[in-house]
Amino acid sequence: MGLVEQGRIPKPLTTLLNRARKYSLWVYQWGLACCAIEMGAAFGSPRYDVMRLGVIPFPASARQADLVVISGTVTDKMVPPIRRLYEQMPDPKYVISMGSCANCGGPYWDSYSVTKGVDQIIPVDVYVPGCPPRPEALLEGIVLLQQRIQNEDMSRRWRGEPIVVGG
């Protein structure tokens, strides 16, 4: 939309669009390690149901996803696939880094084959700490991301400026 680039979207419309976007996230599950099981429990188990937040965990491929949850240890060998799959996602896209391995290397901080944090490769929006974080923690991370989306200014994002959230 040309209006977005020119920054001429009226505020109520932005709010409405953001609200629609935040409640219809499609999550691409990038389950690598133990955190993937907690992510699976959050997404698949009836107790920590993630669909009640509007998040659907079944996109058929990365090209149909808005959100990717990187859960588990990122090794150096795995970096090219992660980068490629991140680039396959269409904008606007969000990344949640789940677990201490994805945040900063975690218990393998001194290993010769572990990337110390996935934010060395792709930009991360929300970090969920824990080893592994409980499914409720991941749900809280998703809720925080939704608040962030609500406060987004689409024109700034389009122009590539950093997102200022809050206020």
Partner: protein, 390 residues
């Protein structure tokens, strides 16, 4: 005269043949298909490169290492309690089961015996870790074959076991509960009664899976006769656990070896199946889960009282020596070969993980199968990436 590609030539010939209703075999190069490393069916980041001839696999090669975290090097720079924490994460679905052989090996070197109550509780938690792990397998194999429902049941019923493990140890998985000389702390009040109730529910879950999935005609057609592994090939590769028992070998480390843990104190049987196909592996694991619930029940009935921690120094230093301890983990035979030089941490700790050897049989077993059967065989061999790649 334009230059035509092979594909165009083949298509032209095929079209002419179809018009003339003549059967023609077109020689074409096989296709190389890359399954993974990110794929819903590979239990993690395993990459399998297969060369196909039509739908049949001509040659398959698993490429692992996408989850290699360097455990053996990390154990050389950590103390024993720190390694206990780290080692939980090798087979991340049944975390307690990874701690046990390591602690047993360290205790063997230190010549320390944990008190009987600790050994019995260790066995109980070990079997519960087995139940938690295999429960997910029972549902997950359904998903790999296309049946979506069992995995939701699996996650739901697994929560019951995880709740119990959490109330005793503090962590849903990665409990980090085992210590050299015993356990971290005693069981909470009311845990035993609740565990018995949950074991009854898990038996109900096994019955459900038996009816829902194993009795399903489609499941049977897709798994019977698929991925047959003869026992000699399996032993030569180092296949262990339910995989080798499904090929007819009656071998279970819990029964066959002397161990300080309490398996000999209760009455249970080892399940084998003569066929060696994917259905056999699923069947054996289902029976083993039921058997595990019975073991837990019996052990909880006779749990001895007493302390749960032997007298060990505050800072653990294991005397010099070498020890090898292996146990019947949910995935197979897992063992630790610890070489100690008397320091705070091991000098060398070789981790023998079951899935590494289980997956090494794939190049042999996948030859000649069809592509959907590849997924079935992967699902039935049941590996965890952390176990393969350590």
């Amino acid at each position: 005269m334009t230059v035509a590609t092979d594909w165009q030539k083949s298509a032209y010939i095929g079209g002419q043949a179809a018009d003339a209703r003549v059967h023609v075999e077109i020689e074409a190069e096989g296709m190389t298909l890359n399954i993974g490393p990110q794929h819903p069916a590979t239990h993690g980041t395993l990459r399998i490169v297969v060369r196909l001839d039509g739908e049949q696999v001509v040659w398959a090669e698993p490429v692992c290492g996408y989850m290699h975290r360097g455990y053996e090097k990390l154990t050389e720079v950590r103390t024993y309690p720190q390694i206990t924490t780290l080692v939980n994460r090798i087979d991340w679905l049944s975390s307690f089961a990874n701690e046990v052989p390591f602690i047993l090996a360290a205790e063997k070197l230190m010549d320390v015996e944990a008190p009987p109550r600790a050994q019995w509780i260790r066995t109980v938690l070990f079997e519960m870790a087995r139940i938690a792990n295999i429960t997910l397998f029972l549902g997950d194999m359904g998903v790999q074959l296309g049946a979506l429902t069992p995995v939701f049941y699996a996650f739901r019923d697994r929560e019951l076991v995880l709740n119990l493990i959490e109330s005793a140890t503090g962590g849903r998985f990665h409990p980090n509960y085992d210590r050299i000389g015993g356990l971290k702390e005693d069981l909470p009040k009311g845990w035993i009664a609740e565990t018995k109730a949950v074991m009854g529910k898990m038996r109900g879950y096994c019955d459900e899976m038996e009816e829902l999935l194993m009795g399903n005609e489609i499941f049977q057609t897709r798994t019977r006769g698929v991925g047959v592994i003869p026992s000699a090939i399996g032993l030569s590769h180092g296949l262990s656990g339910a995989n080798i028992r499904a090929s007819g070998i009656d071998w279970d480390i819990r029964r066959d070896e002397e161990s300080p843990l309490a398996w000999k104190a209760c009455d249970w049987r080892v399940w084998t199946h003569p066929d060696g196909d994917s259905f056999a592996r699923y069947w054996v694991r289902l029976q083993e889960t039921r058997e595990a619930t019975r073991i837990v029940d019996q052990l909880l009935d006779g749990l001895p009282s007493g302390s749960i921690m032997a007298k060990v120094p505050r800072i653990i230093k294991v005397p010099a020596g070498e020890a090898w301890v292996h146990t019947e983990n949910p995935l197979g035979e897992m063992g630790y070969y610890i070489v100690s030089k008397g320091g705070l941490g091991p000098f060398r700790c070789k981790i023998r993980s079951a899935s590494f050897s289980n997956v090494s049989v794939l190049p042999w077993v996948l030859r000649g199968t069809y592509v959907p059967d590849v997924i079935t065989i992967l699902a039935s061999l049941y590996f965890i990436l952390g176990d393969i790649d350590r």
